[in-house]
Symmetry: C3
Subunit: 508 residues, 3 copies
Amino acid sequence: MSCSSDLAALLGSGAANASGAAGYICGQFESVSLQFTDAASAIDSTYLLFSAYLVFAMQLGFAMLCAGSVRAKNTMNIMLTNVLDAAAGALFYYLFGFALAFGGPSNGFIGRHFFGLKGVPEVGFDYPFFLYQWAFAIAAAGITSGSIAERTQFVAYLIYSAFLTGFVYPVVSHWFWSGDGWASASRTAGEALLFRSGVIDFAGSGVVHMVGGVAGLWAALIEGPRIGRFDHAGRSVALRGHSASLVVLGTFLLWFGWYGFNPGSFTTILKSYGPAGSINGQWSAVGRTAVTTTLAGSVAALTTLFGKRLQTGHWNVVDVCNGLLGGFAAITSGCSVVDPWAAVVCGFVSAWVLIGLNEAAARYKYDDPLEAAQLHGGCGAWGVIFTALFARERYVNEVYPGRPGRPYGLFMGGGGRLLAAHVVQILVIFGWVTCTMGPLFLLLHKLGLLRISAEDEMAGMDLTRHGGFAYVYHDEEHDPSKHEGGFMLRSAMARIEPNSTPSTTNQV
Amino acid sequence: MSCSSDLAALLGSGAANASGAAGYICGQFESVSLQFTDAASAIDSTYLLFSAYLVFAMQLGFAMLCAGSVRAKNTMNIMLTNVLDAAAGALFYYLFGFALAFGGPSNGFIGRHFFGLKGVPEVGFDYPFFLYQWAFAIAAAGITSGSIAERTQFVAYLIYSAFLTGFVYPVVSHWFWSGDGWASASRTAGEALLFRSGVIDFAGSGVVHMVGGVAGLWAALIEGPRIGRFDHAGRSVALRGHSASLVVLGTFLLWFGWYGFNPGSFTTILKSYGPAGSINGQWSAVGRTAVTTTLAGSVAALTTLFGKRLQTGHWNVVDVCNGLLGGFAAITSGCSVVDPWAAVVCGFVSAWVLIGLNEAAARYKYDDPLEAAQLHGGCGAWGVIFTALFARERYVNEVYPGRPGRPYGLFMGGGGRLLAAHVVQILVIFGWVTCTMGPLFLLLHKLGLLRISAEDEMAGMDLTRHGGFAYVYHDEEHDPSKHEGGFMLRSAMARIEPNSTPSTTNQV
Amino acid sequence: MSCSSDLAALLGSGAANASGAAGYICGQFESVSLQFTDAASAIDSTYLLFSAYLVFAMQLGFAMLCAGSVRAKNTMNIMLTNVLDAAAGALFYYLFGFALAFGGPSNGFIGRHFFGLKGVPEVGFDYPFFLYQWAFAIAAAGITSGSIAERTQFVAYLIYSAFLTGFVYPVVSHWFWSGDGWASASRTAGEALLFRSGVIDFAGSGVVHMVGGVAGLWAALIEGPRIGRFDHAGRSVALRGHSASLVVLGTFLLWFGWYGFNPGSFTTILKSYGPAGSINGQWSAVGRTAVTTTLAGSVAALTTLFGKRLQTGHWNVVDVCNGLLGGFAAITSGCSVVDPWAAVVCGFVSAWVLIGLNEAAARYKYDDPLEAAQLHGGCGAWGVIFTALFARERYVNEVYPGRPGRPYGLFMGGGGRLLAAHVVQILVIFGWVTCTMGPLFLLLHKLGLLRISAEDEMAGMDLTRHGGFAYVYHDEEHDPSKHEGGFMLRSAMARIEPNSTPSTTNQV
């Protein structure tokens, strides 16, 4: 230790044992320093774990948003997909996904360690980090399940969900987020950056939202619209979701969870940006990220409120909720490297992107029950561009340190190299998801495994596949004279359990 | 540094370079100290950010509580106001509110810095603090929207909500919470305290709950009761909310979020109250605050359960939920400076305050769909008085340090000065909100912008203003023969989208 | 301080004042060390408090799960019990429960300090710890309320709930979790461990889930099944809950809260397991615990999905939710001491345990509306055994330190002593709950206080005891011609308030 030799020289011969004294004192300082390391581990792990819990809460948000956005007869179906996104995602991400995403050293394309969490913990790869990344992976799958709602076979869902969570998404996250990824902005020192910049997709407008959205786009295109979604004259007919309360519940839960998604993506909070003891550190950047996230979503919601009022004559809470989520999807890329005022711009534009894409979808008879492709794909892509325009120099260098002179936002005077990298990101994600998920959906389509029958679609998937409707509000036993007015078939109410009657008729 | 010179003298001439050795050692200690500052920033920011997230979750709680407490036909309307409280609140609080509330140095009445977050971060004013205060501001607006539910024009809501979040509430919070506020208990050293005490409204029974409640009181008085709320004989007719499940969901979420509201109001957790290394620190006071909060709400709930059982003969979960929330609103002022046993007293009295005010409201034909004025205004005012009676000396001096000999609770032997200050607080808040919000509501009333038409009220605002009902449980396409028994108009079910049919008939 | 004397000798006579210099330097190190203690208090309290909030959120999860799992006519009733579990639990646990559970030194059977939180804070017993343990206590009561749903008098609920939260559960938690408990694995140094091992029930598969489940078992057995649950031929008839959306909402909230329940049970996070500065510490073990929890629940959900599909022909989301929760209940015991792969085994077996017990329940005409006895009792017991089979040596010694050579999992080569201790735990919990709750339920049964009348059961408890139904979706005032099709009695819709009409007819 240089501490010891330096201090021994200073104490000199006067001390009975100068090197002993110096060693003793320096050993104490070393011990203090190691205690700090432990404290930092505890602080950062607490921060990351609770952020992961928040991101997990988004899955609940998705479930409620999806449930409320579909018709009552398909509620059981879509909620099951949301539960399984989390459950199957846990198993696959544990076995394969995490390894493919973060198992460096790699060739830049795909990771190859940590299968089954073998080798964890390792510096920078502890269990909380796995949990956090798992919560991200299941979010991508959740997005896609919105696009194909109300008309997709459950078996098809199981297959594509596993493929997306276990392979397609992890590979993309490797490219942009792993220290080995070919397009990462935080590549290991010495490795060349894409356009000497790398892609700054901080929390994943591209990596998560575009991946889920583009997958949903292809699935919904291949399946075609729901029966009744466009009338004989080709006009768009709203198939309203069955519960706006669930939509609002889901939206607020997603908002709540986004505070884990965006600020949490720092993965640590104890890191000074200035000299030690200054107010400028990651704790402040984390807070700023929460603020930009809040503002982008809020301004998008307000813009949607007035925009849709002009367009439709209503103040529509469901539209406002979707606008809000579009703003969040857009700011997710640049949340950590832009100023709050720029987040206002991000949200404002994002609302019009969503409104425009929804118009286009109606025109071209594209049916996406949750607007998932428009919202996550479209606003996500806008967010990727937005970052390349508005990223601020100081923030970029604080959040992605060690590369002096790196480019930043075009409109902030940082040149066009970041924008070039981000255009590449959009093209590459679109291409990769198209080339992997597209053939899969086509194959399922050809095999007759993708879309349910028209009869099942009319009757509702809950009745034909999931054992009955989600709701039984009217208790018919109590008041049998009213059963013709109830909204639930009596057979769905009190039913002999299948395990007592093997020859159940609705076994499919 | 005195460390260096002291240590140099102690090392003396024997050391080869006494002042060098001392400087070296002291520099190391200085460096350790700065690292502690960084660690404290990270710990406190983590604590404050997650507390802010919890307070934000209260907005979801409000939304669900409000939704469940109104009739189904007005659900879309009230949920939209709750979403917009958060979204518009974010924009206004970012632009103006935070500056007016905390932008010191000020004249004691209103802040004047930090507009658009300019100048943030600064010591004590980092982004997490802004986010935390924003979450408080939107809570105040959320309270008011309960009082005027089911009969208020959406435009009126937009106007008063912006005014309340952007101006009325920030000014009040400046008075009592800013280091510059004329009535703050934690004024900058050297500034005189109101009654040599200042107001101890720790988390805002007055600043938040009374402000929201008094604003709601005037709005509901000016609008008058909902149609059918009192029958021809003047008897009170319960217009039951449409979903007790949403009420319970909202109540529990508010309970959950209150752990951010009350304990979070410390804004930091790493602060020792005794000599370093003792168990007595803010971490313990934070925990005690969570306990007093829990006990006050719980005892209020139990008191309401038995009180209402005697009164009505039912065990009513909605009443219990309101009682619980009244207990929380009451303890919010003194949560950090009273003992757990005192919180039990607080909750017990609070339940009777709410029951009594609800009786009075029924008698005087005051209609507040969420009981917001009674609950937040009434129980909030009781909480302000309660604090002045039960605040404990030691806790007061720990939480509001640096003013030896300051008064505390009257019943704890602390004299009447704190009570005097708190009476002033109640009068001043009541007066300020009355003089600002009252004229605004009157003006909107005169302009015909406040209350909706009787026709719209009967039909429900969702149908006439918000594009349709919140719920579509019965799928009529599937079973058209039953549509006369469904509870939703068919027109609300499958509707040609307005953007395809510009001449929509329900455009208003 | 040895630092001072050691360093004084090293500095020797050369220093002007060797002992003074040494004292000065060592005093600084001592001060740094005390600052670390403060920082650790802040970090660990933050961690424990937010974990407690998450566990509290489980109560909301229970409320929604229970509400969705019963018929609409009993929703108000069961939600009220869930609110009261938390509220009454707070009062009783504050007055008695915490003292009985953790008030050591004790005789090993029951604690006897901290009544009314007197003496708190004390080292290891600060307010956050109380809050955390309260949240556990109310979970046990919540489990039981599921077993007796839809047919139990409210007064009976009040009595058993107070007895369970205030006495039965605290005593069990004292035995296994208090440093004084006779069967605790972390007994005070020097005290003998049961089978030289003690029971490793880390977060309470036995202490919480079995206690709640066994209490529910006896209550449900004594009450008998709900009317209509088994038909004249003795076949099982599903009485479907009224809302699968609430079931999924509740399940996800429980999953979310379980991250407080299991990882939070460490109660601290800043503790190194290796030399200071290594990556091996409690922060990593906490993360691993979150991962094992996630995997066990997820695998149980997947296993249930396919298992029930084979059995019933449906993909049933409600079954999957119950399977998931069974996996969580099972892993709760060993979550901190097993590897992720073992958690996969735990979840897989747990799903079959639940399926098998549900089959057995149907065969023996045992009716438990929430499957609480099967799920929490059965899977909880499996979890206790699982831990004794799969606990890994290194993890056991890290989490339960200071007892070298202690036994661990049988299948991991750790011998049978841990298994012996865990068999004793199962027998003792079953016996204790049977001997305390059993007689109580029998007494209530004999007094006619346990089960409601057949008329009340048919009509629904909400109407007869709780002032009306939970839902009013159809607004009949607006459209009176349709009231015969509405699913709610008109009398429940707009009702003269009881306090205005003392001679109310439905006062019971």
